[in-house]
Symmetry: C2
Subunit: 199 residues, 2 copies
């Protein structure tokens, strides 16, 4: 029995966060009440603003509160003629951190999964096709996840690109840098051999 | 570079939660945006309500949005004549779950720590002394943590009880049930021997 229904309510709602179980939720609630009430209020405001105002970029479908995100809107990004297709907005974050890519993105917000009713339209391939027709792209880099669904989605998009006469490429699979050969699974090692490069 | 300042802001504020680093905060923000916007809004409301409305019970100092918490307000609880002194509201939760205690509580919201400027007044011992004088208690159970500070605080309160002629007791230290003897530290094992009971 909690001594406060509001506290009980807060603990329950904290559990909507991924990886937060009943014990962590309770610890978080007590921490905020005891030590950081202003932090809790700021978090509430940040949540309200983000949940109500963040939508999708009308060009690349990533999260943004603007009509067009600041990557799509950047003229220097538009010059490269490169388009990178990813599954999730978080993937953009990861690629941006490498500093190796200077083109624009397209976010599928998922992958093809016919059994779950997720077809080409659900992952925005009609919008992608429009963009490929209306803009000049030299290459489409397919950076979907290295899973069966991600590979299938990449192959599907590669066919669309071929029809439009645009070069499509898939990011390399292989052993992670710093990994040990004996720890790597067989499929990855096979990919690593098939994708070997001359030195 | 995030594509959205509001998203960046949300990730930053999620880090005020204990145990949430930059990666988890990002994962939480994306999860809410992608899959559970209504959950995020509800969490924001729960946070706002809890942070602004929850105060302390004027009898026992635990968290409550009422003037008096529902444990202090319970007439059956008042009959037992037992008062359990704990450091934190979360401790009440843990004791309530055992179902072994039917008295009332007093929450210190910390422990004596003169070096940090936390003296008897800061942990509400003046309020405790008032309660001991104005109400009839048969026994005060000191359930502060088994740390040096917790023990010191318990001893200090035991002296106050003695002055008022009220019996004070300390919860038992010993090996945890289900624990293995060889894994238990020396201090705990010493306490366990000193506190042995005849069968």
């Amino acid at each position: 029995m909690q001594s406060s229904p509001l506290l009980e309510n807060l603990v329950e709602h904290l559990r909507c966060l991924p990886g937060v179980g009943p014990k962590s939720a309770q610890r978080m609630a007590y921490h905020l009440l005891q030590r950081d009430r202003s932090g809790g209020m700021n978090l509430a405001r940040a949540l309200t603003e983000a949940m109500s105002k963040i939508g999708h970029c009308s060009y690349c479908r990533t999260f943004t509160e603007e009509e067009i995100c600041n990557i799509c809107d950047n003229p220097r990004r538009q010059q490269s003629g490169l388009l990178c297709v990813v599954e999730m907005p978080a993937d953009i974050q990861a690629i941006e951190q490498t500093g190796q890519f200077s083109g624009r993105y397209f976010v599928l917000m998922g992958h093809l999964s016919p059994l779950d009713g997720i077809g080409p339209r659900e992952i925005g391939l009609d919008l992608l096709q429009q963009r490929l027709q209306s803009e000049q792209f030299n290459e489409v880099i397919l950076a979907t996840n290295p899973t069966i669904e991600g590979d299938a989605t990449a192959n599907y998009i590669a066919e669309i690109c071929q029809q439009q006469g645009i070069k499509a490429s898939r990011i390399a699979h292989g052993i992670p840098v710093g990994g040990e050969l004996e720890m790597v699974d067989g499929t990855t090692l096979t990919h690593s051999f098939l994708g070997r490069r001359e030195l």
